[in-house]
Structure formats: structure tokens, C-alpha cells
């Protein structure tokens, strides 16, 4: 697989380190700043090139036409969006991933056909939310195209779901309980699996079902 990473800052550098150890992958890192590019080149070698990743002719030079994946992770949302659009519409790159620095832009990126968006502030928020006791439905990942979200549920004592089997729960339509982690470790549940307070449950739920899920596993509605 041929992967192009645009942006050689902290995120791009970290990504390059992860990708370069994978076997059978070819990786190119594009960094616009000349000094930053030569610094990266000292460490990562030939895979680093200096240029503007949002420019059509430069993407052509690095072989975007045969890329399987382009990941744009600069600190500039405009550059990330345009780079992914050029890759997709001019070079038919099958999959594009963009970093979203301003969370307001995420909806627009998805609407414009960027396959996956990665938002650092959202990832940090999710981490923080897991440590707050009142956040018992923690969104882990949004599958926007399908209107679904993967959530981490912390089952509270005395909640409607406490002590009941999955088949007896009034789950929101479209919900899939994927994993239950309790005292006995992780189990892939079936209809008869009984949930207990203290269990951690990974579920796929419709995006608009977060509130009803919250009530089911805490026993009270979402505080507004």
C-alpha cells in the first residue's frame, strides 16, 4: 500500500514513525517548511519530501495517482481539506483522512466527502469524559455515514438495565451491544447475558439514541 502523509509536525512525525515499521508499505511525508523537512529527513530519510501538499503539480510528482491513502495532518484546516479534495477528485485516491483542528469544521469535511476526520480536541475530550463519574455514556467513535456512534457505557447501580438480561431491555432501535466487560473479563454477549452494575459495555447505537441509553444505564435522564 502506498500512503502519503501531508504535514510533518508532531502529528505527521508520530504517524510516520508508526507507518514506517509496517511491512509492505511505502510512505511519503510531505512537509512545506524547508527547515522542518530537512530535520525530518535527517531522521526518517528519503521518505520525507519538501513541498506544498495542496498543490496539484506537487502531488503529481510524489505519485498521488497510485496512492491508496492520503492523510492530511497539518495545523491548517484549509490545507487539510483542500489537499484531501485534490487527492480525491484529481488523483482518485480511494481513501482520505483529514485532521480537523477546529471542531466546527468536522461536519463540512464529512459533507464534502472526506472519508474520515480526526479531531484532537475531541479525542482529548473523550479521555477526560471517561474520568468524570457523571459521564456514563462516553462516545468513542462516530460512524457518521451510517448515523451510528460507538459508546462506552458504565452501568450504574439500580439503573433500569442493572440485573436484567439484554433481551429484556428496551434498547433503542438499531442498538448492538458488542462487548460486556465485568468481573469475569470481557465477553461477547448474547440475548441472555445479564448486565450488572459496574459492568462496562461497548455498544453501537444510533447517534440520536445517546440520551435514552443514558437513562437506561444510569436510571436518570441526562442533566441539561
Amino acid at each position: 500500500m502506498y500512503i502519503i502523509v501531508v504535514g510533518g509536525g508532531m502529528v505527521g512525525y508520530g504517524l510516520a514513525l508508526e507507518l514506517q515499521v509496517l511491512p509492505d508499505h511505502e510512505v511519503t511525508i510531505i512537509e512545506r517548511d524547508h527547515n522542518q523537512a530537512s530535520k525530518l529527513r535527517d531522521e526518517l530519510g528519503e521518505m520525507v519530501v519538501n513541498g506544498d501538499g495542496s498543490e496539484v503539480s506537487f502531488l503529481e510528482q510524489v505519485g498521488a495517482g497510485r496512492a491508496d491513502l492520503l492523510i492530511a495532518v497539518t495545523a491548517d484546516d484549509g490545507a487539510n481539506l483542500v489537499t484531501c479534495q485534490v487527492a480525491k477528485h484529481r488523483f482518485n485516491v480511494p481513501r482520505t483522512i483529514a485532521r480537523v483542528n477546529d471542531p466546527h469544521n468536522e461536519e463540512l469535511f464529512i459533507r464534502l466527502g472526506i472519508d474520515t476526520t480526526v479531531s484532537a480536541s475531541q479525542a482529548v475530550m473523550a479521555q477526560i469524559e471517561t474520568t468524570l463519574p457523571e459521564h456514563t455514556v462516553v462516545p468513542l467513535m462516530k460512524l457518521k455515514k451510517h448515523g451510528l456512534t460507538v459508546v462506552d457505557l458504565h452501568l450504574q447501580h439500580g439503573a433500569p438495565a442493572d440485573g436484567r438480561a439484554i433481551r429484556d431491555l428496551e434498547l433503542p432501535i438499531g442498538t448492538l451491544i458488542s462487548l460486556v466487560v465485568g468481573d469475569g473479563g470481557a465477553v461477547v454477549p448474547n440475548d441472555g447475558t445479564v448486565l450488572h452494575s459496574g459492568d462496562e459495555v461497548i455498544a453501537v447505537i444510533p447517534i440520536d439514541a445517546e440520551e435514552s441509553m443514558h437513562e437506561l444505564i444510569t436510571g436518570h435522564p441526562v442533566a441539561v
Binding site: S57, D76, G78, L81, V82, Q85, V86, L108, R111
Partner: protein, 144 residues
């Protein structure tokens, strides 16, 4: 018309000035407050210091009520981000985008934006004026 002009360089200031003089309701945005000194002294519109890609600013000027959005800031990508947001997220019908890079200009025109490339227009003008075979020039050439 309610018009938003993003970027108050020479082009932005000139367009904003002319539209304002024509009686239109104009808001011009630039990150550098000094840029507003390019506006004509009788400019009656709003001057907003900040980024045309900052949601707080877009909300403050009620972007969704604009009829026209003109992106003539200095960066192509910044203009393309703001224009696509104006068109696809806020439903503004008339969006005009300056894209200096001719290749990106063509591509985003194909993707439904109204773009123009001063680089392309300028170089075409130069080539045309060099090889335009007007009678005058032919005479000059034969004499020289």
C-alpha cells in the same frame, strides 16, 4: 444585496468600496486592522478584524443572511475552505473565490465553485498582448 468580502487587500478593498458605494450592505473581514486603510474614505460598510474562517466571527456577522460571499484573502486554501463553508453549510447562493493556483482553480470550478485565477488571467493577458497581430504592430515589426 448583503455582501461579505473576506480579505481586504487591494482587490478586496476595491470590490468592497465599489459595492458599498453602489448602495449594498457590505461587511469586510481581515485579520490585519491596517488593511482597512485601503478602503475608500466614504466606505459605509462594516470592518471586522479577524479570520473569515473563525466561527465566532461568522456568527457575529450573521453569515447565513448574506446573499454574496467573496473570498479574496491571501491564501488559496483559506479561500476555498471559507467558500465551501459559505456555499454548502450556510447555503449562500452566490460565492466567488479567488484561487491563485490555476490548477486548483480549475478543479474547484469543476466541484461547483465560481473561481477565478489572477495568475491564469494575468499570464494570458501578457501572452495575448505580445502576439496580438494588430495592423499597427505588424507595421512596427516590418519597420524594425
Amino acid at each position: 444585496m448583503n455582501v461579505i468580502v473576506m480579505g481586504c487587500g487591494r482587490v478586496g478593498a476595491s470590490v468592497a468600496g465599489q459595492l458599498s458605494e453602489g448602495g449594498h450592505d457590505v461587511s469586510v473581514i481581515d485579520t490585519d486592522p491596517f488593511a482597512f486603510s485601503r478602503l475608500p474614505t466614504n466606505f459605509a460598510g462594516r470592518r471586522i478584524t479577524g479570520s473569515g474562517n473563525d466561527f465566532r466571527i461568522l456568527e457575529a456577522i450573521n453569515i447565513e443572511e448574506a446573499d454574496v460571499f467573496i473570498a479574496v484573502a491571501s491564501g488559496d486554501n483559506r479561500n476555498l475552505l471559507a467558500s465551501q463553508r459559505a456555499k454548502h453549510q450556510f447555503g449562500i447562493k452566490n460565492v466567488i473565490t479567488r484561487v491563485k493556483d490555476p490548477q486548483r482553480s480549475v478543479l474547484f470550478e469543476q466541484l461547483g465553485l465560481s473561481t477565478f485565477s489572477p495568475t491564469k488571467n494575468g499570464s494570458e493577458l501578457i501572452i495575448t498582448s505580445l502576439f496580438e497581430e494588430t495592423p499597427d504592430k505588424l507595421t512596427e515589426a516590418s519597420q524594425g
